[in-house]
């Protein structure tokens, strides 16, 4: 087991390294992508371009540039923004993390609750109208563009119904937990719900198909033959075995969202989280911030993958020998 974990850890580090190189290449070595030109502006003269190249170190060979940037990011931890010179990258990311965490954890609780509820209810309601109805709701949830749903929610809560039903919804933005629990939560309830709609749909669909599969297994027939109640079969036998698929999916989705995949929700609801920071830095072509954010995001995705693999190997010893 330890050997398996070590092998996986090494692979994870290699993937992180490859991602850092990939991002670096995307921004520095794509044909026609000249960071100096982006920083200097559209109509910059040749001299200005040359100045920019020298002052940002773009005239050095690519591997040297890469090594320098990585040293500043990970060893000296003093990488600074290209656009707002003097502003360090790492504190910016640190500042954004609590906002993203608040958004994603709240949304995750809601979507796990509704996803499991819908998946189990659909399985239990097979053969009746309940199952197709829940699955249609799930499909609609999966098919709605999340940013659009966010804008419609804003339209309702900030404008159309703001004077009546949604008068308790504060203006867009984030309030830290230290300003009071209700103040914090009321700012986030709408973003939570919006983000959860998509994932609740996905989880309900995955859980239902897993559980329907499990209901046809021998051990479920056995449990029934023993005379166990249908409810107990559903929860103790079908649900528990199907949970493995949900948990591994959850690990990956949660990792990606913490890493900034909630970007669209953050942009729409004006939350200055990691996703929004990434987006803003991309708009300004602020390479050090982009690199910092992407490495941060990749770290969480790789970590989630690693943990999921590990949990799998713990549950199923056969995996360790692959």
């Amino acid at each position: 087991m330890l050997r398996f974990a070590l092998k996986r850890a090494v692979a994870a580090v290699l993937v992180l390294f490859a991602i850092s190189v990939l991002v670096f290449l995307i921004f520095f070595a794509t044909p026609g992508a000249d960071p100096a030109a982006r920083i200097a502006g559209r109509n910059a003269s040749q001299e200005t371009l040359q100045q920019v190249r020298e002052s940002f170190g773009f005239d050095k060979p690519l591997p040297v540039q890469y090594a320098l940037m990585m040293r500043h990011l990970f060893i000296d931890r003093d990488l600074t923004s290209f656009v707002n010179r003097g502003v360090e990258v790492i504190p910016q990311i640190k500042q954004a993390i609590p906002i993203t965490l608040s958004l994603v954890i709240g949304a995750a609780i809601i979507w796990m609750f509704f996803g499991i509820l819908m998946g189990v209810a659909a399985t239990a309601g097979r053969g009746s109208a309940v199952d197709p109805l829940i699955m249609i709701i799930g499909v609609i949830g999966v098919s709605l563009p999340v940013y659009w749903l966010g804008e419609v929610v804003n339209l309702m809560t900030q404008s159309r119904l703001h004077d009546s039903f949604f008068s308790w919804v504060p203006p867009l933005g984030y309030a830290p937990l230290s300003s009071g629990v209700w103040n914090w939560a009321s700012h986030l309830i709408m973003p939570w719900m919006t983000l959860a709609v998509l994932y609740a749909g996905i989880y309900a669909r995955v859980l239902r198909s897993e559980m329907v599969g499990a209901m046809n297994e021998e051990y479920v027939r056995m449990a029934r033959a023993k005379g166990i109640s249908e409810r107990r079969v559903l929860w103790r036998h079908a649900f528990r075995t199907s949970l493995i698929a949900i948990v591994s999916l959850f690990g990956l989705d949660f990792g990606a969202l913490i890493g900034g995949a909630a970007l669209l929700s953050e942009v729409v609801f004006g939350l200055q989280g990691v996703g929004k920071l990434t987006y803003d830095s991309l708009q300004n072509f602020d390479l050090p911030v982009i690199l910092g954010c992407v490495m941060y995001a990749a770290f969480f995705v790789v970590l989630a993958n690693f943990l999921v693999d590990l949990v799998y190997a713990l549950l199923d010893p056969r995996v360790r020998h692959v």
């Binding site: 499909v139 990956l252 790789v302």
Partner: protein, 342 residues
């Protein structure tokens, strides 16, 4: 899983139809899937008719700004851009929906252009990008998955590591990184030059980022196919790699790829719209449903229909594609499953 194995075993040989025909028969009996196909055909046809609608019904070009335009409803003529009736009464608002087919059915956008015409034109781009990139993605993933799973060894190691790296990259971040770098400049690869703002760029970007999601299950499927008896029998009979791939592997992988196609189209359309919403997808003056939603955000509280309409179209199309995908899966390969993508 080989397709139709159980049917073939359980039905008498005289009645057995080919797996494709069986699948098509199942699909035709599936009312939800058939309904989805009809909805998709209607949306396709409407979007194809966009130039016809703009020129013959609306009589207004959908791409040139129309700030000084006029409209006439019930004999009353007024400017398309009206002075604001909210707040301090400063500035102008485009007219809202008239619900008249020939006269700003969904209102005008902030350039005074007809939203309905742009919705139809935008649908063309959204559909084309979704479909072509999904096809590209499935073809590429099929190729990588088959090569990697069949030949194994060093080639598999390299390809799998490559997929791992892409997989660990949150898709939206990867798409956004690539788009930001590529979208504002023309790209020259060898003899081919892509103009900036060409919709080929979003197609390529979206086509590539989802490759691991499809290639991984295909690779696993090919690896288990290699161990199956019918493949081993073929190997024993002295079949070449080319023959094995063509006659044994590909026919068994193809259904899975076809199942992925409608699902990937839906996901890709949503991704395209998200990129366009962030103004790094389809570039003006071209439109897609995502860019129209982006246009509509500025008018959200005064003329919400500009943003609502394209979102509704996108949602209807994606629901139809997902339901069709479920139907195709039930008909072809009940085991295929796509990891829920963001």
């Amino acid at each position: 899983m080989a397709i139709g194995t159980t049917e073939v075993l359980s039905t008498p040989a005289t009645q057995s139809a080919g797996p494709w025909r069986t699948a098509w028969r199942d699909l035709r009996r599936n009312k939800v899937a058939m309904g989805s196909i009809i909805v998709l055909i209607v949306i396709f046809a409407a979007c194809l008719a966009a130039p016809l609608y703009a020129s013959s019904v609306m009589h207004l070009d959908a791409f040139t700004s129309n700030l000084d335009g006029k409209f006439t409803v019930n004999g009353v003529t007024g400017p398309v851009m009206q002075s604001s009736d909210t707040g301090l009464g400063l500035g102008v608002n485009p007219i809202g929906p008239t619900w008249l087919w020939n006269n700003f059915f969904l209102g005008a956008d902030n350039q005074g252009r007809d939203v309905m015409s742009r919705l139809l034109y935008g649908g063309r781009n959204s559909l084309v990008i979704g479909l072509v990139s999904a096809t590209l993605c499935c073809a590429l993933a099929g190729f990588i998955g088959i090569v990697s799973g069949y030949f194994g060894g060093g080639l598999d190691a390299v390809l799998s590591r490559g997929l791992d790296v892409l997989w660990a990259f949150p898709v939206y971040l990867l798409a956004i990184c690539l788009s930001v770098v590529l979208i504002n400049q023309s790209l020259t690869i060898g003899p081919i030059t892509l103009n900036s703002g060409s919709i080929i760029l979003p197609i390529l970007i979206i086509g590539v980022i989802y490759v691991p999601y499809v290639a991984r299950p295909i690779r696993g499927q090919v690896m288990s196919l290699r161990e199956r008896e019918f493949v081993q029998a073929s190997v024993g009979a002295g079949a070449t790699d080319a023959r094995l791939l063509r006659r044994e592997i590909l026919p068994n992988v193809l259904p899975t790829l076809i199942v992925f196609l409608p699902l990937m189209t839906a996901i890709n359309m949503l991704t395209e719209s998200a990129l366009s919403f962030l103004s790094i997808g389809v570039q003006p003056p071209d439109a897609s449903w995502g860019t129209i939603i982006n246009d509509g955000v500025g008018l959200l509280y005064t003329r919400p229909m500009v943003a609502i309409a394209p979102g509704v179209m996108l949602a209807i199309t994606a629901v139809a594609l997902n339901l069709l995908g479920d139907g195709v899966r039930d008909a072809l390969d009940p085991k295929a499953r796509l990891r829920g993508a963001v």
